[in-house]
Structure formats: C-alpha cells, structure tokens
C-alpha cells in the first residue's frame, strides 16, 4: 500500500506548501484510490496542520502561515465534502461553528486564529468576519445548521454585544439549540457566566479543548 502513504504524504505536503490547488488535487487522488475521506483528513491533513499549530505556539511560524495552511486544508476538505454529498452522506466533523467579531468591533486577528485552529482541529468553521450583528449570527447559524456560535469582542464596550447575543437567542427560543462560546482580550470566565454563555476560552488551544468537551456531552 505504498500508494496510500504516498497520498497521505501529498496531502500533508500541500499544507506545508500552503497550496489549496495541491490540496484539492491530493484529495481527488485519495478519493480515486478509495481512501475513506475521514481517514485522509485524519492521517493526511491533520498531522501537518497540528504540527503547524504547535509551531505557531512556539512563534516559529506566524499568522500568515497559519491562515494559508487552514485555507489549503479547507480546499481539500471541500473536495471530500462534495464527494460525500454526492454519495448521499456527509463528511464527519467535530461540529459546525459559526464565528464572528461582534458589531462595532473590527478586531479580527484573534478571531481569525481561533477559526484557523478550530478548523485544523476538525471543526467546520463558517467565519462571518467582523462587525457581525446579533441577528446575523443567528441567521448564519440556522443556515449552516451549526452546533456552535462563537463571538469575539476585543473592546470592553463591545462585550455588551455578547450579552445581547445570548439574550436574543433566549428570546427566540434558540438558546438551547446552540453552544455559545465567547472570547477576546477583555472577556473572562466571570463575564461568560454572568451573561449565560455556555463557554469561554482564553485562547484558541483552550477553545478546542472546551468545545471538544461540550460537543462530546452534546452528542452523547
């Protein structure tokens, strides 16, 4: 089965090269060789992107590499998703996350890192961008059949929009439907508790851990 390990190698290399076209091509090759998409992701893309995440933590690579690698992986994962859809199934992921920075706030770097790391950890991430209004979060979550709504706020004044988000979900009877996770420099666990958010994380690594836990209980 040397062909298989060669394909895994190609999948990984496309991440190292930040090359979405190569990632898509390698994904097609994997499908043609009859490798199950979940395995291709787990054994091809994931180790490479995990290593890159660790390097980012040690400041050996930086934001552009992280974002580009996540972009390459997305291109590959899209190919698998298309194929699964055609076959009437869907590619397993850890959960669907709708992510954005709240209205009035344009800080996007922390949110982008969280998005990149969550997708490399196996979540399907819909990044809405910055200045996202409360109703837009819900609309996008309904549309994407999301499990998780993740809201970033970097200003002590825009943290209020996280509170609005929880209030709005509650008023629409959607609070139980979604896991709401909040973050950003001024946000704390106390704040998350106070506004009734389901989770808080200090950084991207912790976000993965916390969400993994919550998703496990949710799916159990």
């Amino acid at each position: 089965m040397s062909n298989e390990s060669e394909i895994f190698q190609k999948l990984a290399q496309s991440i190292w090269d930040f090359d979405p076209d190569a990632a898509a091509a390698a994904a097609k090759e994997a499908l043609a060789a009859g490798i199950a998409p979940a395995r291709a992701v787990e054994e091809g893309f994931s180790p490479a992107i995990r290593e890159l995440g660790d390097k980012f933590d040690r400041m050996e690579v930086f934001l552009p590499e992280l974002v580009m690698a996540a972009g390459a992986m997305k291109a590959g994962v899209n190919v698998f998703e298309e194929a699964m859809k055609k076959a009437g199934g869907s590619l397993a992921n850890k959960g669907v996350v709708v992510l954005g920075t709240v209205e009035g706030d344009i800080h996007d770097i922390g949110k982008t890192i969280v998005g990149a790391m969550l997708s490399s950890a196996g979540y399907k991430v819909v990044d809405l961008g910055v200045e996202i209004s409360v109703p837009r979060f819900l609309e996008a979550a309904d549309e994407a059949k999301a499990d998780i709504i993740a809201a970033s706020a970097l200003l002590s004044t825009t943290m209020l929009r996280q509170k609005d988000l929880v209030e709005f979900l509650t008023s629409r009877g959607k609070k139980e439907k979604y896991i709401v996770i909040v973050g950003g420099a001024p946000v704390t666990q106390e704040w998350a508790d106070k506004i009734g958010a389901d989770a808080y994380a200090r950084d991207a690594q912790q976000a993965i851990k916390v969400l993994d836990g919550l998703m496990a209980t949710r799916r159990a």
């Binding site: 933590d57 400041m59 930086f62 934001l63 552009p64 974002v67 580009m68 009035g104 344009i106 770097i109 200003l155 002590s156 004044t157 825009t158 209020l160 420099a185 200090r202």
Partner: protein, 454 residues
Amino acid sequence: MDLSLILKRSELGALTTGDEFLLKSVSMNTMRLAREAKLKFDPQILVNQDDEAADRLFQAGRQLLLETGLYCTSSRRVIRFSERELDERLKCLPGQVTVGQGKELHTVRHRGVEDSAFPTIFGGPFNCDTDEATFVKFNEAYAREPLIDILFFPGYLKELDGILIRPGSGLSTRAAILYGRYAREAVMRAGRPDMPIAGHAVMALNEIACSSEEWGLRSTDPRAMVLISELQVDDVTLTRLVYYKSIGAPIYMSFTPLIGGYGGGPEGTAITAVASVIASTLLGGDFVHIGPQHIKLRVQTNQHSLWLSSIVNQAIARNSQMIITTSHTTAGRPGSLQFALEFSALAIASVISGSNQSGPRPAEPLGNNQNSPLMCRLFAEVGRATTRIDRAKANEIVLALYQEYKDHLDLATSPRGKTFNELYDLNTLEPSEEHYATYQEARAKLLALGLPLD
C-alpha cells in the same frame, strides 16, 4: 501630498478583498523583502548597533509601501502611492511641529540616533478605563507633573449614567463631549490651561464631538488617527482625518505593528512598521506613534518588541525627518516595581534610537484608573537620562532590565498592581508613601545599572 488625492484613490483604486490584500500583498511581499534585507533578530542585541541594517530596513519598508499601498476596508480598494509622491513628501518634511498655546507652546521634534536633545513626553492615562468620578483628578495629577509636555489620551469612559457605553451611540457622543470638557478642566485646575492635550475619545466616529476652542480639545491640540494593522484604513479613520485636518489640528497618527501577525516575525514586522510610518506621513500625520505589539504576549516590553522598536526608530531617524514616538504597554501594572523596569527598558531602547515617548500604561488594566502620574515622572526622567548614554551602554542596561522581568510577562500572572485611587491621596493628589518608595526603588536600580538619572 494632498488629502483629496488619497480620498479619491480610496474610491477609485483597485478592488480586492481583505484576505487577498493581507496574505497575498502584505505577507508575501514582506517575507520576500525580509529575506532580501538580511535582517536578523539577535537576543543579545536588543538595541540595534548596526547602522547599515537600519538603512536596509528603511529601504525595505519604503519598497513594501510602494508595492502594497494601503487598503481601505470599507470601500475594499487599494490606495497606491507613486515613488515620486513618496519621495517628494519625505523631502519636504519640516522635522518639527508646534502644539499647544501661550506658555504651553511646545515644539515636537524629529530626533536622531543618540540625540542629546530631550524627547517630548506624551504622558497621561493613555486611555486606560476611567470612571467619571475620578476622571478630572486623575488627569489633573498628570498635568501637575512638569516633565509631561503633552497630556496624553485622558482616559476611556466606558460607563456613563450607570450604563455601559455602546460605541457610536448617542450616549457615546455625550461621553466624548464630557471627555473634552473634563480634560480641559483638569489642565486648568493644574494651572496649565493651555497645556496641549493629545485626544482620542475612543468612541468611534463621534469622538470628534469633544472639539471646542472654548471648553474642549482645541485646534492646537494633537488629535489621534489609527491605522488598522497592517496597512489598512476605513471610513471611520478617514473621516476623522478629514475633519481634524480641516480644523488645522496636529495629526497624531498611531498604529500597532503586530509581531507574529501578517508581517511574520520581528524582522518582517519591522518592515511593515516602517511602511506604516511612511504611510502615516503620506496621509498627513505630523507625528507617528508606533506600538510594537506581540501577538502572543500582548505587551510591548518583550525582547522582540524592544528590538523592533529600536531598529524601526533608527531606520526612520537616520533616513528621514519624520517625527516618531513610541507607546509603552507593560505586563506588570502600576504600583509594582516591574511596571517601572519594563517601561524603562522600552523607553531606553526607543529614545536612544531617535524616538519621543508616549505612555506608559499596563497592557491589561484590571480595573478603572489603573495608571500612575508618578510613574510617568520616572518615565520622563528615564528618557532624559538616555540622552546622556550611547547605544552600547543602552543595550547593556536594556538587557539587564529584561533579565529581571522576562519570566513574568504572562498577563494572567504578572503583578496586579493598584489603581490611582489606591496609589494617590485624592485630596492632595500626592502619591502614597508606599508608592513613592517604589519610585525610589526603581530609580536606585536604574542608577546602579549606570543610567545617569538627574
């Protein structure tokens, strides 16, 4: 360069997306230019000693700006500059700008590397969260410090009438007006009614409402305009700029090069920083504030930020007449010795390299009014003493200071410090004995390291 040209380009420039601009244009070009410029961060040399490296950095930054331009996130268009526009603007800079009025007229100057002229001190709360009840006294205590030339960012009112302020709301406009009134009131009470106030009411667009010759921020006061890192502007920033220019206010441009962000490591981010300083000047900035920020540590006193600040300031100082200042945000909070050691390290690294001084402030204040006028006095004293040493000595002192605090930069565990209300007697506006002792302890330490404080 005329502002109308920039506004025109922000409407008619090439269309692109933010991702394309940041990844394809800024990151890719920066990576290439960093390789070509052969810059290398060395943990033993936090104060750059190599003039040629500084000059190569300047050229790389200039080149980056020519290749990428500025991105307007609102119109999604790229504002480009020609080589001729850039060079002509740099050639005719005055190298000095006057702010304030009457007895408080103050000239901010371009400084050179190892310059013997004192830096200008922009000192004040630096927009830490401030409550309404303390606002005037807090600023008055800063204005009473004679070494502070310009009252710097009087404080961030985040709550008014018991309600948290939503940016852009009517309440936030009311807060902006009060910001102007209270800041003027504070300098009047300190006996310096014409003291220049660098203003940044932080309420988005409506911060312009704090302007008034009679009771607020005057047209002789520097007004802040922030570039979005890296190399971006938006409608709000451009609108502020147009307004401040129209009233003739000196423009205090600021930006935050983010080490580990779209510029990559410290070397690449130094290039984006130089490009941003030049861009700020082309937009009409009279002085440019650099906040050498770090994506993981979120403070400006780590070794990468120290080096970046030093080499970027030298690149600008040696190759242009642009006037720069450096912001100082720390992990340790006011009231702790670490706060003083951290801002001293960055002040020495920056001032020796040609910078003026803005700050200092804790990067993550833990409550309202968490800053100290007495610490700002020390900050100014450190800047003055730095004009009497050379780069080799500066490096030695900065390394020694960095050793002392380097293991305590994590914001979650760094010294929690105290608030102005705890550090000062609010009736006399004098620091407590305990706080004064911390000031003296820091001075003794700096003197022992060979910094010639007055």
